[in-house]
Structures are given as C-alpha cells and as structure tokens.
C-alpha cells in the first residue's frame, strides 16, 4: 500500500505459458531473488507484489502466476482479465512451448485488455546447448505482433529485471507522481524499492 508517500502505479501483470517453462521461477527471481532447481508446480494460482521504480514513477506490480497445464486453461481468463501487462513465457529448449506461447498471445489479443503490454520471454536462456527456439525467430514474431521480447534465465537472473523494467516503462503513465513528494530512490539508477514476500 502507498504508505511512504510514493505514488505507486498499480499494474496487474499475469504470467502465462506452457507448464514447466519457468513462470514461477521468473517471479521468484524477480520478487525474492531466489531460484530453485526443483520449483514445485503451481496449483491454482499464486499472487505476488513487487514495486519497481522507473524514472518519476513507481510501478507496483501485482503479479499473477498461473498453472501452466492446458487442463487449467479455462481458469486463465480469471487472471488475465483486467491485466495491464502479461508475460508469455516459453522455454528456449522446447519448441512446443513456443507454439503454445503464440497461442497465448493470440488469446490475449482477442480477449485481453486491448492496451495490454505483452512481453514474450524466452526463458531458460542458460540452456544454450539444448536451444531449439532461435532468438531471431522469436524476435521476428514479437516484432510482427507488437510484443516486447527478451531471452531470460531465472536461474542466472539474466534479463529478468530488465524484462519487468521494460514492461514498467511501457505501462501507460496514467497517474504521474507528484514530483514534490519525497522519493527514496536514486533517480539515476532504477532499482527495486521494496519487496513483499510469498510463502513460508
């Protein structure tokens, strides 16, 4: 909650993608700076918050992490509805997961908020030896569809903060901060201001 005098811009963000692509790992890396090799599957959904200062404003990400299996597809609209941003995740070592990602993008375009910022994340970028989806292919797809694209690795943290930062930058600046208010963030470097933790 906005208790420190900073004007937070709340931004609902949802993670979608085939199961086992690393959605929860990306969130955990971003929110807690942690990574587990055997991150358990998400049942139902999980919710996290994380704030991120960008220039004059601070985005407060309200992150919905969803279960990936197709069987739970029917629950997804409940989570992406009203979302300002979505990260569609695929696994660079798995072509099927990229195909599935494209389907998610289509669905979001059809049923999501029309102004939604959609990012495509090629996760597990550390698995270079098993790479099946070339960055160029994904990049082209992203360009053609107006998506933000980054390869990420929740394991090494590569691209993770950048991904969220870039999303924050693209969020509509509906509610600019009053500059007179005190902000404890160094303007020159955008960084995390606070975190809120999930689970035990």
């Amino acid at each position: 909650m906005a208790t420190t005098g900073i004007n937070y811009i709340p931004a609902k963000l949802v993670l979608l993608g085939e199961m086992g692509t690393g959605k929860s790992s990306l969130v955990l890396r971003f929110v807690k700076g942690q990574f587990f090799d055997y991150q358990e599957s998400t049942i139902g959904a999980a919710f996290f918050t994380q704030t991120l200062a960008v220039n004059e404003t601070t985005a407060k990400f309200e992150i919905w992490d969803t279960a990936g299996q197709e069987r739970y597809h029917s629950l997804a609209p409940m989570y992406y509805r009203g979302a300002a941003a979505a990260i569609v995740v695929y696994d660079i070592s798995n072509t099927d997961s990229f195909t599935r990602a494209k389907k998610w993008v289509e669905e979001l375009r059809q049923h999501g908020n029309p102004n939604m910022v959609i990012a495509l994340a090629g996760n597990k970028a550390d698995l270079v030896d098993n790479k099946q989806v070339e960055a160029e292919v994904a990049q082209t797809y992203a360009q053609d569809n107006g998506l933000l694209f980054l390869e990420t690795s929740a394991k090494t943290a590569q691209g993770v903060n950048e991904l969220f930062l870039e999303i924050a930058r693209r969020l509509p600046k509906a509610n600019p901060t009053q500059p007179s208010r005190m902000i404890v963030v160094d303007r020159s470097s955008e960084r995390l201001v606070s975190t809120s933790y999930y689970c035990c």
Partner: protein, 688 residues
C-alpha cells in the same frame, strides 16, 4: 500443441456429446418454440426459450440433466425458469448410458420462476472451446449450479435479458453482469421502494447526498472508519427478539433496504447502519445516530446513557434481525438451525479472538500395532469397520501401520477381506499392474513419434515428478529411483484411465502414497482408489472443483454468515482462493507427516465424506476477523491463503472442522448437493 488440444477434446465424451447434440438440439429448440407459442394463456409471455441447457450434478456426462431455460414476463416482472426434461424426453442424457436420475434429484435442481429482481449477478463463461455456461448468483448469495448452454447462446440470453432488466457489466470483471445494480445504493433502494410522500424534502436532499458519498467510499473499500464493529450484535439474541418488534415503519423500510442490499456481514451492517442512520429522515427519532459515529457526529451529546441510547441499542438489533432472517430463509434452514448457528456464533465470539472453537472431541494418539490387532479377527477381517474408522478419525495411524491401514481406508482392500484374500488380491493386482505398465513400455521410439498424445503426457509427467517433494529424503538427490517410480506409476495410470490422463496435482497426491507403500504396484492401486474419489477434481471442465467450491460457499454461508457476506461484498464468492486446498487435499499446506495424518483422517469418511470442506470452513473461520478487518480483496485473499501454508495447526483445525461438521448436522445435505466429489462408489463398502 494445438493438435494435442483438439485430441484432448475429441477424447472427451462430454464434448463429443455436446458437439453431436449441437445440430439435433437446435432442431428441437425450434419445435418446442413453436409448440409453446410466445404467449401463454395466463397472460404471461415467454420472451426467451432455450433448449438443451443442462446442469451437471456429477462429473459424469451420463448424469447430465438437460432442460429448458426460459424467461417469462408476467405483469411487469421477469422470471427465469429452468425445467428439466421428463426422463423419456431427455435427449440430453449421454449416448448409450441411460442413467435414470431419481425424480427428487431432478426436482432438486429445477428452477421455478425466480424473479430477476432476486438475481444479483450473472457470470458467463464462454470459452473458445468447450461449453458455454452461466452462473447465477442471487441477491441472497446463493448461486445456482452452472447452467451449460450446450448449443451456445449465452450472448443471446444476455442480450434478451438486457431488454428487460437493468444489466450492467461489472467494472471488475468483464464476464460478470450485475442485475438491477443501480450505481447509487440509495437510489437503488429508494427506486424500488414506495416511499411515503411525507418524507421531508429538505432532509432527503441533504442526507441523500452525504449518503451517496459514504457509499461510494464503501464500494471502493476506502472508508477510513473501518474499525466500526457492531459489538452488540448477537444472532441468538436477535432471533429471539425478532418477534417482539412489530410494525415500525422505519424498521420496515430498513428491512426492505437491507433486503435490497442483502449483505449480511458486519460490513453490511455498517453500510446499512449508514442507510438507517440517514433514514432517520423517515423517522421522527431526532438523534438517531450510531454509537460508532459518536466521535465525529454532531449529535454526540444526544447519545449517552439516556433513553435515546437505549433505543439505539434496539435499533442495532433490529438491523441484524432481517439479515439473519434472510440468511436463514435463503439457506432453507429452520429456525432451530438458525438458533443453533446463532448459539455457535455466540460461543465463538466469547473465545479470545485468536482461539478457535474447542468443540471437537480430544484428539487421540495415533492407532498403534497392538490396538490395530484388536480390530482384526483370526482370519484378518475387520470386524467393526465403523469403530476402526472412528478410531482413526480421532487419532490417525502410526506411520509403521500406514502401509497396511491405508489400503483399507482407500478402499483397495475391503474391510471384510481375510489375510488370504488380500494376499491373493495383491498377487493378481501386481500382475495386472505389470500388464498395464507394459502397454506404454512397449511403445517403440518409432511408434512414439506418431503418438503425440503419449509423448505429450510423458513429457508433462516428467516435468512434474522431478519437482515433486524433492526436499523429502525419500525423493531427494539426483537420479533418485523413487522419482522414476513416480513417473512410471503416473504414466501407467494415464493408460489405466486414459480419459482422465495426467493432470498437475496428481504427482502431489501420489507422492505420500508411494512413500508409505514403498511398492510400485501397491502404490499404483492405492492411487487408483484415491482417484476414484478425487478424479473429478481434475475434470477438464473443472466441474468437480466447481461443485466443491459451490458446496464450500454454501457451508460458509450456513456456518459463518458474516464471512460469507463479506466475501460476497468483496466479490470472492467463487472461493477460488481455496482451489489448491481442495484440488490436492491440503497437500501443500502442511508438512509431509501432517499431510499424511490429515489424509488418513479424511479417508475415514467418518463424519462426512466432505470433511475436507469443513476443514476449509474451519481455517477460513479462524482467519475471518483478519480477512474482514483488512478488507482483503480477491488478490490479497489468495495471497493470504497461499501464505497460510505451513502455518496451519492440524490438530486444532481438525477439532474445529469436526465441530462445524456436527453443527451443520442434517443441513449438510442442503449445503452439499448429491454427487459433490469425492463421491463414493455405491458398492464401496465404506459407509455401510
């Protein structure tokens, strides 16, 4: 992927049935429309009629109840009906299986002329694949089971509805349509009430504007005086006093206003107290003001130890009266039950806030070997299975005994079987397991390349087993063979029950079973037995989960109406925040040993086969104060619930759940419709 998805659906007999009925159904629809005629003789007009709209009392397609949904206009009111077809005309019944449903079941679900003024909201689900359905929530908070539009047409239904009632899309959820939801609550209540002309105009003007502002604040959950707490409220007392209060116009007004709002929480009381406070304009009581407003109120001096204050007290109780009445009436509960709940609430509120209801019987130590032996006769039969189930319900089982006892609890071994019979069964089942396992093991790489569904399933399972309980010594470390066993069992299961296949959450359910059984075949068959009960949780259309969440909602309404009303106000009545609890039986909420303890208690089906739902109520009830005081919205609530993981005290919760289960008593039938999973096989032998 896309292809796999199509495969999935084409595999689904329900889906296929619905597709096939698509064409035939619309044919039929035309017929009925013609025969019915637009205008009925009694002056009512059918403005909408849709055939092949079905309710699923169970997960089985064959037990689908199809019927006709109609909107009927009579005088100036609109009513909705859903009448199931007569059994003989029931083309909605799945092909082949002509399961006759008892007439009472069919009647149970019939919706007879519900006025649309009683409908609060309609949630539509229009997935691109699969069936469309709607869920109607009444102003009372009750929800009808999902109405599946087998031939589509939800949009048309809503469009027709919109021509006759005030329908607005919820700002929070584009698929929720609020019925008769005027923006300004006062306007809403006033517009639907025939107010006496004598209302002083000036007063109305001034107070209605302030009221409007109060309410807009309410709606956005930003009210500053959130600490309002109606401490004088006590359901029992109010039920008792209810009869003494007669014909007070202001009260009648307030009751009606309250009924319009139909919010039964403290928040509702808060909200309605504002209304009532403002409604002093309809009342000649000059300083009619709530105590809670004393500090900021200009009428401060009038409220004290004087008669006005006493009157206030009475008013407060009046406020709670109709609310309770609504809750009771809509829950179809008799007054005695309401009193019981009231008493229960009273006792609850006497407890220190953090304390739970210590009503359940004292928990016992787990069942040990010596005592276990007393349950068996010479040949190994369990003489009194009910006594055994009761014993385990109250104390669980020592770990060393689980391997033996779980097989009975899960229904893999029958209670009246002998040692010899069980030994024989084990041998048979071991060989049967190998046969099924061989089915997928014998798939050659070349065959697998042409078997997308197999490859996909294998991949899903492999992705999940490597991340299931890896911190438990039994599964930790690289190349742990037990992880391989999990995989083999799940893959074999997906061949044993090919329609259900593999679904996320199953590995969580299997893990403790394999840990206990330490045997592949035994673990497999125990898992099969468990899935007989919990399989519906994993249905593609989520119907098994929906029906349990609905039952949970009704239980909460009955057992904790303030919480229920808060959740309604916060638009959280879908109870999706309990999804994980129910789907995998609290597996992620407790440490491993406690999970096993809980499961063996649940599996006794001693007090109820839906004991897990009472667990949910018990936990929610325990945190009700926090949930309401912090005004948790859906997001916050889900986060809060997820974070309760590893912070729930099992034994205390079991006791609370037991108390709740006893309190629900006979009324549990009203709350939990037949067929709500885990439904027991009829010949299961667990509940003699």
């Amino acid at each position: 992927m896309q292809e796999a998805e199509l495969h999935d659906l084409s595999d689904d007999p329900d889906y296929v049935a619905s597709q096939q009925q698509g064409s035939g159904g619309s044919e039929n629809q035309k017929c009925t429309r013609k025969s019915n005629g637009p205008t009925e003789p009694n002056g009512s007009e059918v403005v909408y009629s849709k055939d092949n709209v079905a309710i699923h009392p169970t997960q089985y397609a064959s037990e689908r109840i199809s019927g006709r949904l109609q909107l009927i206009k009579r005088d100036l009111s609109l009513f909705m009906t859903w009448i199931p077809y007569k059994q003989s005309a029931s083309y909605g019944v799945g092909q082949g299986s002509r399961v006759k449903l008892p007439e009472k079941d069919r009647n149970l679900y019939t919706i007879r002329a519900v006025p649309l003024t009683d409908v609060r909201s309609i949630r539509r689900h229009t997935p691109t694949l699969g069936w469309q359905y709607i869920i109607m929530v009444l102003t009372s908070g009750l929800a009808f089971p999902p109405l599946y539009f087998y031939n589509g047409g939800v949009r048309e239904f809503l469009a027709t509805l919109k021509q006759h009632v005030f329908l607005v899309r919820s700002a929070d959820d584009a698929n929720v349509f609020l019925v008769n939801d005027l923006q300004d609550p006062l306007q809403r209540s006033l517009s639907s009430l025939e107010l006496p002309r004598a209302v002083p105009v000036a007063n109305v003007a001034s107070s209605s504007s302030s009221l409007a502002s109060v309410h807009s604040d309410d709606n956005s959950n930003q009210r500053s005086n959130a600490d309002y707490h109606d401490s004088s409220f006590s359901p029992t007392e109010s039920v008792g006093r209810h009869r003494q209060k007669v014909r007070d116009p202001a009260r009648d007004l307030s009751i009606q206003v309250l009924e319009k709002f139909s919010l039964v929480t403290k928040f509702a009381r808060e909200t309605t107290s504002h209304l009532l406070r403002e409604s002093q304009i309809f009342d000649n009581i000059g300083g009619y003001e709530k105590q809670q407003q004393v500090h900021s109120s200009p009428v401060k001096n009038q409220v004290g130890g004087d008669p006005v204050s006493q009157e206030l007290q009475d008013k407060n109780q009046i406020i709670s009266d109709p609310l309770e009445k609504i809750a009771c009436r809509n829950g179809k509960l008799c007054e005695a039950a309401a009193t019981l709940v009231g008493t229960f609430e009273l006792i609850d509120s006497k407890e220190a806030e953090q304390q739970s209801l210590v009503w359940g019987k004292p928990r016992l130590p787990p069942l040990g070997h010596e005592e276990w032996a007393t349950f068996l006769d010479e040949e190994g039969r369990i003489v009194d299975s009910k006594a055994l189930r009761k014993r385990i319900f109250y104390g669980g089982v020592e770990h060393g005994l689980r391997k033996e006892v779980w097989k009975f609890l899960l229904g893999y071994n029958e209670f009246h079987s002998t040692y010899a019979e069980r030994e024989f069964l084990e041998t048979m089942k071991r060989s049967e397991y190998e046969t099924i396992k061989h089915q997928w093991q014998s798939i050659s790489p070349a065959q697998a390349r042409r078997f997308a569904k197999f490859k996909e399933r294998k991949s899903l399972i492999e992705k999940d087993v490597v991340r299931t309980d890896r911190s438990i010594p039994f599964y930790d470390g690289d190349e742990n063979p037990n992880v391989g066993l999990l995989r083999d069992i799940l893959l074999t299961f997906s061949f044993y029950n090919f329609d259900l296949g593999y679904c996320q959450g199953m590995s969580d359910l299997l893990s403790p079973i394999l840990f206990v059984m330490e045997d592949e075949s035994e673990a497999f068959w125990c898992f099969v037995s468990l899935m007989e009960r919990l399989g519906p949780n994993f249905n593609r259309d989520q119907n098994g989960m929906h029906s349990q969440l609905l039952a949970l909602s009704k239980l909460v309404e009955f057992l904790d109406s303030p919480l229920h009303c808060y959740l309604r106000q916060a638009d959280c009545l879908n109870f999706f925040f309990c999804f994980r609890w129910i789907l995998i039986q609290f597996k992620r909420e407790f440490v491993y040993e406690k999970t096993m303890r809980l499961w063996e208690v649940l599996w006794t089906h001693y007090l109820s086969e839906h004991f897990h739902l009472y667990m949910c109520v018990a936990i929610l009830k325990k945190h009700r104060k926090k949930i309401i005081e912090e005004r948790m919205d859906f997001d916050t609530l889900l986060k809060f619930i997820n974070e309760l993981s590893c912070h729930i005290t099992l034994e205390a919760t079991l006791k609370d759940a037991e108390a709740l289960c006893i309190i629900a008593g006979e009324n549990k039938a009203a709350c939990i419709p037949p067929g709500t999973p885990p439904s027991l096989p009829v010949e299961g032998g667990l509940l003699e």
